[in-house]
Every structure is written in C-alpha cells, then in structure tokens.
Amino acid sequence: MTASSRWDADAAVEGLYATHYRRLVRLSVLLVGDVETAEEVVQDSFVAMHGRWRSLREPEKGLAYLRQTVVNRSRSVLRHRGVRARYVPPVTPDQPGAEDDLLVAERRSAVLEALRALPGRQREVLALRYYLDLSEADIAETLGISRGAVKSHASRGTAALRSLMEDRS
C-alpha cells in the first residue's frame, strides 16, 4: 500500500487540488466559456469527491471522478442556462495597451465562441482529447459513451471547429 492510498478525504482534496485544480478549471472554461462558472463547477466537484472518498479511495479514481464530475456539471450548468445563450464577453487583458495581449484575448474568445457553437458531446470529446490528452478509452469512460461514439464525435467536432475558425479568418 502506498502512502497516497491511505489518504483520507481531506488529504485527497488537498493533494488533487495542488496537482489538478488549475487544469480542471481550464477544462471547464473550455466547456462553459467563462472562468467564474468554471471555478464554481470545479469547486463543487471537489466537494462532491470529498463526500465520495469512501468509495473512491485511490488518487487515480479520485481524479477520474473529478474529471467526470467536472464534465457532467459543466453540461448541467449549460442546460440550466437553457436557451438564453450567454454571451461570453471577450476577455480583456489586465493591462490593456499591448497589442499582443489584445490579439491573444481576441483569439481566445474566438475559440471559446466556436466551441460554444458545437453540440455538447463534440465539445466535451474535443476538450478531453486535445486538452486533457485522454485516450479514446478514457474519454469513453469519462463520458459514459462507447468508443465508437467518441470517434464519431471527435471527427465531427474537429471538422466543425476547423470550419468555424476558418469562417472567422
């Protein structure tokens, strides 16, 4: 038994927070489009994992649960927002003026906007595949869908995102 497998729920939260919090928030930003919501979603997910730790017990399972919960809750938030599609304001850099910053900010909001235009599953598959670098099997597990479905969402999503980005340029 390794030391980490004896983590209690509090230690699991701290350990996984230190190693994965930022990345999970960024993942959620890709899914929901704004940082504030993403932070809420990820914090909720850590609280949920804490409550579940008895049945998870291992860091890898905790992380898998976090990933899954972040994706599910991000989806749930979007659903909850319903039809009143929320406009994602272009993120203005902290210190405006530098043209590079503006370009970065513009590009960033363009990508988030394009992602938002995709069907939910495609967005999720792209984020898990290209941002978290998950394998096809892990994505299937995270989303509770088949590997075949992962493949088809990935190829459709890739094509759709490409054409959306091309339309802009």
């Binding site: 949920a48 409550g51 579940r52 599910n72 909850h80 595949r129 290209y130």
Partner: protein
C-alpha cells in the same frame, strides 16, 4: 485515433485557456467539506421512522419550509433536450443493495439511432456509470463486438475472458451481469426477444459461469432490479428548488424514506409512497432546499430498528442553485 504533437486543434484549445489563472479555491472547498464525517443511520429521537405511512401521499418538509406538493411536473432541469445526435438509451449497471447485487438504470446518450443498441450494450460491458456507486462487473478486457437484431434473433457478441466465472466474482454478481446485458439489449432494441449470447462470433454455452446454452430471457424486475432506485436527478446534477425526485422502489409497506444531507447534517427528511408493498412501483416527491451542495439518500424503511436487515438505498450528490 492518434493525436499528433502539433495538432492545430490542440494548440487552439491550449491557447484559449493558457492564461486562465483561477483564484485560490482551496479554502472555499475546505470550508464546505469541514466537519463532514461518515454518515450515520442512527438519528435519535427526531428520526422519522414511519409506522403509519398509509396516509402519506406527499412529502414531509422540515425546518419550516412550506408544504411541498407531490408533483411529477414540478420544476427541475429538463433531462436531455440538448443537441445530441442519437437517442438516449437505458443502460443498466450493477450496484450493491441490501439484497445483493442488483441492477440500476441510467440514461446514456448515443451517437446515432443506428448504433444505439451497440452503444448501449457496449456501455453496459465496458462503460462507466455516472453514479460512482454503480459499476460494470464484466472483467477488464471484455469487449462488446456486436449487438443486433437479425432475422428475429437478438444477439450480443462478446470477446474476452468471460466464459468462466473469475474467482473474484460472486455467483450472484455473475447472474446480475448476464441480466444486465439482457435488460440493456432488450430495452435498447425495444424488444423482449431472449438474448442469444456469442463469444467471438460463436454460440457460447456459458458466460461468467452462467449457462447461456439457450437464449437468456429477461428475469423479473423484482428479482434483478435494485429495490430502491432514484431515476432523477442524476448524480452530479445541478438543479433548482423545488427538486422533483423520481424513482422506483419495492419497499416495506410501500414506503421509502429520504434524507437530504449537507455534510453530516440531515437538513430535510421525509417519506414517499411507492405504490403497493413488495413490488417495484414508481414514487415521486419534492424537496425544497436553499442553494447548496447536498447528498440525497433514498432508502427503504429500517423496520428492524437498526438490527440486521440491511437497507437498500440509492445516493445522489446534487447541487441546488
């Protein structure tokens, strides 16, 4: 698929969030998890143990919250409704209950109507349940090759080390696993045809040590489904108050009890009737709660007053916004 290092999509996504620096959040998480301990089932004097449930059709609310209505149509997030390509299908998973391993149903999206049967059975064999209390009992390395209805035969073709029962798997779990696929395949196919099991394309006389020499028929719901299940909300759902909870149960005197817990504190509790005694019937109740993170526990009545007689329950972590 084999993503390459310099994939433009990867760079696109990376660039979209590379400057996102979340604020320090650990304190907020800690504040919400502080003091949480293992939930206890001993409620003491206030515990709502229900001897006379016959009159109850709706909900008991606690803490001065107004009377809730027994409404199947009350608010709550609309399930589905998103722009998915395929229909949702019911996928059964196995979970532990007071009466042994039983099946729990979950709705899973599919990519297309044409592959929905394949996808549902594949999810049952090697997928992951949304609720971490449920699992697929099939040994790792099991794959689903094909599920189809052809010439009046509903067949499921598997591959992997699944003919004999692995030593770590109980007979009850093996039987549940076979029924898990029968129920999933039949529901996805919209048919009650018995399921013909194949192993690598050929008839298999056994799966996990259970006889499959003849097509396997669906066992009765009361024999294989969990005695208490929550269908909605699903685990991890973000919902609005009032929350309508639905599920099915076969419980003593047709009554299920529920608690809404925040940390280790029961903030709401009540009970709901689930039709007649001892056969699975639908129940529904409504919970009002302020915004927050909760664990919803629905279980059958503890008629033994805490002695033996393990309870069956279903637990969902939900967020009320």
């Amino acid at each position: 698929m084999s993503p390459t290092e310099h994939d433009p999509i990867r760079e696109l996504l990376e660039s979209a969030v590379s400057d996102v620096e979340p604020a320090y959040g650990l304190d907020r998480i800690r504040a919400r998890t502080a003091g949480r301990r293992r939930r206890t089932w001993a409620w003491g004097a206030g515990g709502a143990v229900l001897a006379t449930a016959a009159t109850v059709a709706a909900v008991v609310t606690l803490g001065g919250v107004g009377p809730a209505t027994d409404g199947g149509s009350a608010a709550g997030p609309a399930a589905g409704g998103s722009s998915e390509a395929g229909p949702a299908r019911t996928v059964y998973f196995v979970g532990d209950t007071g009466v042994g391993p039983r099946l729990f149903a979950e709705k899973h999206d599919t990519a297309s109507a044409a592959s929905a049967l394949d996808e549902a059975v594949e999810a049952a064999v090697s997928g992951t349940a949304s609720d971490p209390d449920y699992r697929s009992p099939w040994p790792s390395g099991t794959t689903m090759q094909r599920a189809q209805v052809s010439a009046g035969v509903l067949s499921v073709d598997l591959s992997g080390p699944v003919r004999d029962r692995p030593s770590g798997l109980s007979r009850a779990t093996a039987a549940a696993a076979v029924q898990q696929l029968v129920w999933t395949a039949q529901d996805a196919a919209g048919s009650r045809l018995p399921v013909t099991f194949l192993l690598d394309g050929r008839r298999s006389d056994a799966l996990l040590g259970e006889s499959t020499a003849r097509p396997v028929v669906r066992a009765s719901a009361d024999d294989v489904l969990a005695p208490v299940q929550v269908s909605s909300p699903e685990d991890g759902a973000v919902v609005t108050s009032p929350v309508t909870v639905t599920g099915s149960a076969s419980a003593f005197e047709g009554t299920v009890q529920w608690e809404l817990e925040a940390g280790n504190t029961v903030v709401r509790r009540g009970y709901a009737t689930a039709g007649e005694c001892c056969t699975l019937s639908p129940y529904t109740f409504t919970v009002r709660a302020p915004a927050g993170e909760y664990t919803l526990v629905v279980h059958d009545e503890d008629v033994s007053d805490g002695e033996g007689n393990p309870m069956s329950r279903d637990t969902k972590t939900i967020t009320v916004r």
